[in-house]
């Protein structure tokens, strides 16, 4: 398993963001669904080794992130797109991606080709030399995805990756996700159920810090049979699980 989580908890003062989560994830695209404030981002940040768990154990890519040396190894193989992508307005697209490639300790010889490939993959080749301050929100999101995938990560963590993308870009991006999922573990945190339905092989629904559902998108759809809230079958499944959990 590339992600092996055992009873993971994270508290912020009195608030429990993540409550005893158990999760094992292997290759493929894994969707993390849930309403706002459910704990998706906290869970993802712990997987990204940015946030320390309050308790429980976490192993990523067969390594223990508590150990500094192993954590560094994990980070070399990790790609992460935060929910709020910060960026340096004066950098060009290529420079920004190159900067994070260098921070990921990629081999300098590999970097130019890897940066070019990542930028092309998110369809920003024509804007490669543009300063980030001149790009639209959707383009910036794609720059964020490019920096996340530049090191060809074995574990890719994406927090709301399709936010700000137009429908065409979203479709293209789902294709990229499916392709990445063939050889690595991709975790996509989102509240857009159509992304999950189109790209994910497996999905977990988080509510109030707990995993309320885990299965395939088809299984989630089945949960919604006969439930009226939602425009699509998957949305009805999503709503049914949440309603069932809260009841």
């Amino acid at each position: 398993m590339n992600i092996d989580i055992d009873h993971l908890t994270r508290r912020f003062g009195r608030t429990q963001a993540v409550v005893g989560v158990d999760l094992q994830v292997g290759l493929g695209v894994f969707g993390l669904l849930g309403p706002n404030g459910a704990g998706k981002t906290s869970l993802l940040r712990m997987m990204a080794t940015v946030l320390q768990p309050s308790s429980g154990s976490l192993r990523l890519l067969g390594r223990d992130p508590h150990n500094y040396g192993e954590r560094r190894e994990i980070r070399r193989r990790l790609g992460y797109l935060p929910q709020n992508l910060g960026y340096y307005p004066g950098f060009t697209v290529v420079e920004f991606v190159e900067y994070f490639a260098l921070l990921k300790e990629m081999s300098p010889a590999r970097i130019p080709a890897a940066v070019a490939e990542a930028v092309e993959r998110v369809e920003l080749g024509e804007k490669a030399r543009s300063k980030l301050r001149t790009l639209s929100g959707g383009m910036l999101r794609r720059v964020g995805i490019a920096q996340a995938i530049v090191n060809d990560p074995e574990l890719l963590l994406l927090d709301e990756p399709t936010a700000g993308l137009d429908p065409e870009q979203r479709v293209q991006f789902r294709a990229v996700l499916r392709e990445l999922g063939e050889r690595s573990t991709v975790v996509v945190s989102t509240h857009l159920v159509e992304d999950v339905g189109a790209a994910c092989t497996e999905v977990a629904l988080i509510d109030r810090g707990n995993i309320a559902f885990r299965g395939t998108p088809d299984e989630l759809t089945e949960r919604g049979a006969g439930y009226g809230l939602g425009d699509s079958p998957l949305e009805r499944g999503y709503s049914a699980v949440l309603a069932g959990g809260r009841a």
Partner: protein, 484 residues
């Protein structure tokens, strides 16, 4: 699902110099310091350079503006820009991305710091190059002093480090202006006011408190002691701050923590040593001496062959003052013609050093070169030689002012007719001097009347009277009434 098989315990990749160079290149390309270079250039031109060209073309005198003007000017911007750069991750919300990268955050921070510091030093050295290049076209003696440049660079690195640390630890858009303000307060208030009054020795650590004597590098070697102490102190601050950042950002790495701890300890040792050495410093005629780092070889005067103009009494000056010689001879010639051949008259007029020993607190509070230059003359040796310290070092290509030449004429007469080397305490001596210098108006009435009487005599009569009465006049045995 299947999991990816990865080799466990594989050794971390070595951080290659190539990677560091690329990261540094990115930081250099995007340093905000680049935008400020024109402003720094203008500030240098109108402040430090403008002041320097008003000084005589002596290397140490001109180089004084490096620490007094240029470094404080650049420090304010350097600290502000470094704080802005240090706060970048916090302001731009990239902390998560930088934190989750494999490269230790300390190393990433050092690259950002280096980007700002390199531009700061480049701006500083560019200004120094302009200053020294201009001085080289005018100076006729010695060469550019590098100790002030090294000390200035250390000071700038220290303020860059402090600003950067402030930005990294307290990321906000207000950190940069606050860092610049604090730098100003440290340089102007803390060093020059607070420390200067309570601990003048420690105030010497301020780059703005190292005034070189006017004759440094001309008659004697300038002591690098104070510069060494300042470099030690400020380099120590840089090391402490950067080591401290390593401790803060180690995030569980024992190697980083230990390295940062060792670096911090070394920095603290350097800071402590610098302060200790400053505490033992004392001001001497030729500069500030710190016994532990003082090189006795620099106590020896600089050997030189004086440049002389022959006449009734030859006048010789240091070759650095070559341009001053014709005006000096022209000013002294009326007196030389009057005194030549008289009993006890000097066989030669020779320029001497004008530096004087100051109290530590006075030296610290003095920032103007002119305040350290005195005017004096003495008649010594057998046959007697009149040693004359010039009141004002010449500011080429402008000729020396008539006022300064008048002071030198006065010093010449003082030394010749005053009691054993100079101070006129006797009314008759004052009257004769006033008569010879044509300024009787400054004397009280009886002495002024005597001076006017003597001034009204023909030069040959004056000379004849001096030949007869000079010995009695010098020993103070001539009454005003006996002056013809």
């Amino acid at each position: 699902m299947t999991s990816v098989t990865l080799p466990l315990g594989s050794k971390p990749q070595r951080i290659r110099p190539m990677r560091r160079a690329r990261l540094l290149r990115l930081e250099l390309r995007h340093s905000i310091m680049i935008l400020l270079l024109p402003l720094l250039g203008a500030l240098f031109y109108f402040d430090a350079f403008h002041k320097a060209v008003g000084y005589p073309p002596f290397w140490f005198v001109r180089s004084s503006v490096i620490l007094h003007e240029l470094v404080p000017d650049v420090s304010l911007f350097a600290a502000g820009v470094a704080a802005w750069t240090g706060s970048r991750e916090g302001r731009r919300e990239t902390v998560d991305l930088v934190t989750m990268a494999a490269r230790p955050r300390w190393a990433t921070a050092l690259a950002s710091f280096a980007g700002t510091t390199i531009w700061t030093l480049a701006a500083f050295l560019g200004c120094v190059a302009v200053l020294y290049g201009f001085t080289a076209t005018q100076a006729s003696w010695g060469g550019p002093p590098w100790w002030p440049v090294a000390a200035g660079a250390a000071v700038l690195c220290a303020f860059c480090a402090l600003g950067f640390a402030a930005g990294l630890l307290l990321p906000s858009r207000f950190t940069a202006p606050l860092a610049a303000l604090v730098t100003f307060l440290v340089l102007i208030v803390a060093f020059r006011v607070v420390l200067n009054e309570s601990h003048p020795s420690f105030a010497l650590l301020s780059p703005m408190n190292s005034v070189p004597p006017g004759d440094a590098g001309v008659f004697f070697h300038y002591f690098p002691d104070l510069y060494i102490v300042q470099i030690m102190f400020f380099a120590g601050i840089v090391v402490v701050v950067l080591g401290g950042l390593g401790l803060v950002t180690a995030s569980g790495s024992r190697i980083v923590s230990r390295t940062a701890a060792v670096v911090t300890a070394l920095g603290l040792a350097a800071v402590g040593t610098g302060m200790g050495l400053a505490g033992t410093a004392r001001v001497e005629a030729n500069g500030v001496v710190s016994p532990a780092v003082h090189d006795a070889a620099s106590d020896w005067p600089i050997t030189y062959t004086p440049v002389c103009q022959q006449g009734a009494i030859p006048v010789c000056v240091h070759p650095a003052f070559r341009a001053y010689l014709p005006d000096l001879v022209a000013a002294l010639n009326p007196l030389i013609n009057q005194f030549a051949g008289l009993p006890g008259a000097p066989v030669r007029v020779e320029q001497s050093s004008s530096s004087t020993t100051l109290e530590l607190s006075v030296a610290v509070s003095s920032t103007e070169i002119g305040t350290l230059v005195g005017a004096s003359a003495s008649l010594t040796g057998n046959p007697p030689v009149l040693r004359l310290a010039l009141t004002e070092v010449p500011s080429q290509p402008e000729p020396p002012s008539s006022q300064s030449l008048g002071v030198e004429q006065g010093a010449f007469v003082d030394a010749f007719i005053g009691p054993a080397g100079g101070t006129l305490g006797d009314p008759a001596q004052a009257a004769i001097e006033a008569a010879l210098l044509h300024n009787a108006g400054s004397l009280p009435s009886p002495a002024a009347q005597a001076a006017n009487r003597f001034a009204g005599l023909a030069p040959s009569v004056q000379r004849a009277w001096l030949a007869t009465h000079l010995r009695a006049l010098r020993s103070g045995h001539i009454a005003l009434a006996r002056i013809p």
